[in-house]
């Protein structure tokens, strides 16, 4: 009886969290002959026409390609750049190490919104406004990831590298051959969350991009809503295009997502 009550509650919360996604999916599959305002979750005559239709009013596949490009570059830069910095902070002894660590720690305390305007000025003086480079650069090596990887490298036992030092391996060889493979788990978390942050980012691309051809999916969708709000089917199709890849990634790698939250990789 108690167990039954638990399942009733679970199903209730399930309906509240997944229901809105299903309603959007259902709307995106409804044909022009069907009243989208009627509360029918199952389309009477399901069609994929809206997915083709949304590409006719805005270049949604260009948006998706831009988002994908930005996210992939973000993943590579974060995994490599943050691991390099984290490795130096954790495993190499040098003067100024504490200061370097402090710079990364302090920059975590700066909310992005507070530097929004002056970061735009930086990009303008570099001549990068309205480019995807400007979208990628500020988050390309996130201080949080540097510290996450630093902690991962710190947790490695010292002996692992000692043998390599005796064998005459230099710092770079030890980093690539021994240290990096040992923190695979953290690297997966960093990669996953870098992809997600980049794919979901809204405020910065909204400010730095002005040309619809350069838009990423998130601002492309806001633009679509502003222009063609009357056709809810198309907006719904665009939303599904934007969210489906992430849901797929999440279902495949959910264990790592939960671990990432535990390690503080996601700020909420």
């Amino acid at each position: 009886m108690k167990l039954l009550g638990r399942y009733v509650l679970l199903l209730g919360v399930f309906a509240l969290t997944i229901g809105p996604f299903l309603w959007q999916l259902s709307t995106s599959l409804k044909g022009p002959g069907e009243d989208v305002y009627r509360p029918d979750f199952v389309p009477s005559d399901p069609t994929l026409a809206n997915y083709a239709g949304v590409a006719e009013v805005v270049p949604v596949w260009t948006f998706a390609a831009n988002s994908l490009l930005v996210a992939l570059v973000n993943v590579v830069c974060n995994c490599l750049g943050a691991a390099m910095a984290g490795y130096a902070l954790a495993r190499l002894k040098f003067r100024g190490r504490r200061l370097a660590g402090l710079v990364f720690a302090a920059s975590i305390l700066v909310p992005f919104e507070t530097i929004l305007i002056s970061l735009f000025l930086v990009m303008r003086s570099l001549g990068l406004t309205n480019t995807l480079t400007a979208v990628v650069l500020p988050g390309s090596i996130a201080a949080l990831n540097v510290l996450l990887l630093r902690n991962a490298f710190l947790a490695l036992p010292g002996e692992v590298e000692e043998a390599a030092i005796i064998d005459g391996a230099n710092a770079w060889q030890r980093f690539v051959r021994i240290a990096l493979p040992s923190v695979r788990g953290t690297l997966v978390v960093v990669a996953l969350f870098s992809f997600m942050f980049s794919w979901d980012d809204f405020l910065w691309p909204l400010v730095v991009l002005s040309d619809p051809d350069k838009y990423t999916l998130t601002i492309g969708l806001a633009y679509l809503q502003g222009t063609f709000f009357q056709n809810q089917r198309l907006v719904a199709a665009g939303t599904i295009i934007a969210v489906a890849p992430l849901i797929l990634l999440f279902l495949l790698l959910q264990k790592h997502f939960f671990r990432g939250v535990g390690e503080g990789a996601l700020k909420g």
């Binding site: 309603w23 405020l203 992430l246």
Partner: protein, 289 residues
């Protein structure tokens, strides 16, 4: 010596360059610009505290600050409490629990834009929610066209999107609550509600303070939810504008007032830092007890 003296700096170079150029420099520059009248073209003269005096006279500023604080107050209590209850619900490993945990986390991974668009459609004047309201005999509720209701709707969206995230944080914390405390309380005849308040809550207080801090800072920085639900306008007459929205509207575009927007950014920074300090203080008191 296992490496040359400059080797560590080669490892640090890309990371330091990005952080210094795209976080630290803009941050310091923001503080400088806050005391100037710089416009969209740059330049600007040092004007002392003029920007801050102007704020006190600017009704838009007060509306934005009020809305951001209201937002914070609106989202923190539900985001501290509901995910805890949810974590307790999914804690027991009953069959299918992984499925439910996964489902409850899904809104977290979706972007604020996707979530905003989904709820804009749900809360539309003729949308699904109003459909249900009408079926129950009510009149349609102007969720998105009334400035107060728009704020409340956006809070609802933030809470809905954040539930799964804080649920996972609480799940990890719950795993560390010693079971014998519960059993002892049970032997003493404490019911489930009593045990929740006298065992679970005290044991989880540091986590609850952490969740309160995270959700408060994020709540104060709200942007995308309000932007999307209001179609970019900040509500009727801009009455639902928040501080970040005001910064974005003031500082960007051809008429951007960079100096004034920087001053607003500085206020935003001071408030978020203050919220973090309050949290540290609360957690330190904890240790002293």
């Amino acid at each position: 010596m296992t490496h040359r003296p400059y080797t560590p700096w080669l490892f640090l170079l890309p990371g330091l360059a990005v952080v210094l150029m795209f976080t630290m420099f803009p941050f310091l520059n923001m503080i400088v610009l806050a005391f100037t009248d710089a416009d969209a073209l740059g330049g600007g003269q040092f004007t002392g505290v003029d920007n801050f005096l102007r704020m006190t006279q600017d009704p838009k500023f007060w509306t934005a600050v009020r809305n951001s604080f209201l937002y914070l107050c609106g989202v923190v209590p539900p985001l501290v409490l509901l995910p805890l209850l949810l974590a307790m619900l999914v804690r027991r490993k009953v069959p299918g629990i992984t499925f439910f945990r996964t489902a409850f986390f899904t809104p977290v991974i979706a972007s604020a834009v996707v979530v905003g668009l989904i709820w804009t459609w749900l809360l539309d004047s003729r949308g699904l929610v109003n459909n249900v309201v009408e079926t129950l005999g009510g009149t349609p509720i102007p969720f998105l066209t009334d400035s107060t209701l728009l704020l409340i709707s956006a809070m609802l969206v933030t809470v809905w999107k954040g539930l799964g995230y804080y649920m996972i944080i609480y799940l990890a914390a719950l795993a560390n609550v010693p079971n014998d405390l519960h059993e002892a309380a049970q032997v003493d005849g404490a019911g489930p509600v009593r045990r929740f308040f006298s065992v679970t809550v005290p044991a989880l207080r540091p986590t609850m303070v952490l969740v309160a801090a995270l959700s408060a800072v994020n709540g104060f920085r709200v942007f995308a939810e309000i932007y999307l639900l209001s179609g970019g306008s900040g509500g009727p007459g801009g009455a639902s504008t928040t501080l970040v929205m005001l910064i974005q509207q003031t500082g960007t575009g051809l008429t951007g007032e960079v100096g004034y927007a920087s001053a607003l950014s500085l206020i935003l920074f001071i408030v978020t830092l203050g919220l973090l300090l309050i949290t540290l203080r609360l957690n330190r008191k904890e240790d002293a007890l």
